[in-house]
């Protein structure tokens, strides 16, 4: 296994993020750092990756585990290259979210929470993403795909079948360098 270390650009960004908080309150940078780690290390947080983040912030590993396992956007297990997160709370349900989920399940041959055998797609149903007026919707990385139809979903899956990179919530350009 290769050494776990952020690339130089990210490391510089990490230092800039830590400066956003008062002296000694560097733990505040934990959530953004975990996002950066997940984006850079294959879309999920392994225990060694969490330990690495702990060392960057000079906090105990357990403090990182506690936080990483609390928030639903951190994946503590490997996920497919494309993580399809389909909202199914009230407004989305009212406008056909269940059918969208069923359609994806049929198309990819996986159930909610599963990954296709080729490691390309993971399907995850999620709770309200604040896209109720444009329901039904799903999220891939930072992108919201709204007013979904089966055709739109098919096109998305087609699109992602040919991609090699991981879907990501953010990259090095998301955060401003102070």
């Amino acid at each position: 296994m290769s050494e776990i270390k952020f690339n130089d650009e990210t490391l510089a960004l990490v230092q800039s993020i830590i400066k956003r908080y008062p002296e000694g309150k560097q733990k505040s940078a934990l959530l953004p750092l975990l996002h950066l780690a997940q984006a850079e290390f294959d879309g999920w947080l392994s225990a060694p990756v969490m330990d690495y983040v702990a060392s960057l912030l000079n906090i105990k590993p357990i403090e990182v585990y506690e936080v990483a396992s609390f928030y639903s956007m951190y994946n503590l297990n490997p996920v497919g290259k494309c993580l399809l997160e389909v909202c199914r709370t009230s407004s989305c349900w009212l406008r056909g979210a269940n059918e969208i989920v069923a359609h994806i399940e049929n198309k990819l041959g996986i159930k909610d929470g599963e990954t296709t055998s080729d490691g390309k797609f993971t399907l995850k149903t999620v709770e309200c993403l604040g896209s109720c007026g444009t329901a039904p919707m799903l999220q891939i990385g930072a992108d919201f795909h709204e007013n979904l139809t089966f055709e739109k979903v098919d096109a998305l899956i087609n699109d992602w079948s040919n991609k090699t990179e991981h879907s990501k919530y953010l990259d090095n350009s998301t955060f401003r360098k102070n």
Partner: protein, 327 residues
């Protein structure tokens, strides 16, 4: 100083005292039960909601009642405050609900649980719970984890009181376990495989209100009510050395801290005293531990013999029913 009245009994206490502390000063008849609060641990309490009380008068200055029941362990008294604990129907009703929630996912494995007989959840269930369960859903279960070779974590029984986490944080030098996940999937756990090795780690067993953290050196050795507790001490370079040593016949089965009437240890003890000193010659015996005669631990030390009721197929049901109603 401030005056507070709890269930009709008035006491004057120092400013900053909580309702629970004041109630305990008055006595056990007005003190609300606690499952997560632990006076020796900072920031403990507030989570389990068993100590909820009704504040029927806010203070002399602002006599309005508080709109919701409050956690007595985390609410500071005000001068002239009036509090209802067992005299409030709302409190009794809410507490019954809390017991039901705490038992919802708690296994009914008391017959094989080492904590049985000194379990705070058993006491709470007996005093404030209902006789009947209203759920038939599968309870959540977890695998048992060994925290080192002396402590076992049986998460299935945990009620998430956070006491062990605060103990590890406040009296040991490096916490490696904590609460992972969230909601009803929360669990006390760690990603670190190696043992928690710390001179005071064994105290998590004493603070655990249920049988989630147990002493592996005592595991399945005896029911607690078959053991005899004696106060004992030894010269210890790590802790006060003041403990309770639990005998069965001539054998020392386990060593624990000395617990007060609220089930809290008076002093935390070190792992050497707890796990490694299992011979009578290790200890200076002070005498029998005073145990409430109502405690199940007194069960085989009756001073007065009670004639057991004769059980027949016909009266088992009647006895069970009347006992259910008495609760």
């Amino acid at each position: 100083m401030a005056k507070v009245t709890i269930d009709g009994q008035t006491i004057e206490v120092a400013d900053g005292t909580t309702i629970l502390q004041a109630a305990r000063m008055i006595g056990p008849e007005v003190a609300p039960p606690t499952m997560c609060y632990y006076s020796k641990l900072k920031t403990s309490g507030g989570y389990c909601r068993t100590c909820l009380v009704e504040v029927s008068k806010g203070s002399e200055k602002d006599p309005r009642p508080m709109p919701k029941l409050v956690a007595s362990c985390r609410t500071t008294i005000m001068d002239g405050m009036e509090v209802k604990n067992m005299t409030s129907d709302k409190v009794i009703d809410a507490r019954k609900g809390v017991v039901e929630f705490l038992l919802l996912n708690h296994p009914l494995d008391c017959p094989v649980c080492d904590q049985a007989g000194e379990c705070q959840l058993q006491d709470l269930g007996y005093e404030h719970g209902s006789a009947k369960t209203r759920t038939d859903f599968k309870r959540r279960t977890f695998d048992k984890i060994d925290i080192g070779n002396k402590i076992q974590l049986h998460m299935t029984r945990c009620i998430l009181c956070y006491r062990c986490v605060k103990t590890a944080e406040q009296i040991t030098d490096g916490r490696v376990h904590g609460v992972l996940n969230r909601g009803d999937a929360s669990e006390i756990s760690t990603y670190i495989e190696q043992a928690i090795d710390n001179d005071f780690s064994g105290n998590v067993i004493d603070v655990c209100p249920v049988g989630a953290l147990t002493d592996k050196t005592f595991r399945f050795k005896s029911r607690v009510w078959f053991t005899k507790p004696v106060d004992a001490h030894r010269d210890c370079d790590k802790c006060s050395g003041k403990t309770v040593v639990w005998y069965k016949g001539e054998d020392v089965l386990r060593v624990t801290g000395r617990k007060d009437q609220w089930g809290e240890v008076e002093e935390f003890i070190c792992n050497t005293c707890r796990f490694d000193k299992k011979k009578t010659s290790d200890w200076t015996i002070e005498g029998p531990r005073a145990i409430s005669h109502q405690s199940v631990i007194s069960a085989n030390h009756y001073t007065k013999m009670v004639k057991p009721r004769e059980l027949t197929l016909n009266n088992i049901k009647t006895i069970a029913l009347t006992e259910g109603e008495n609760k």
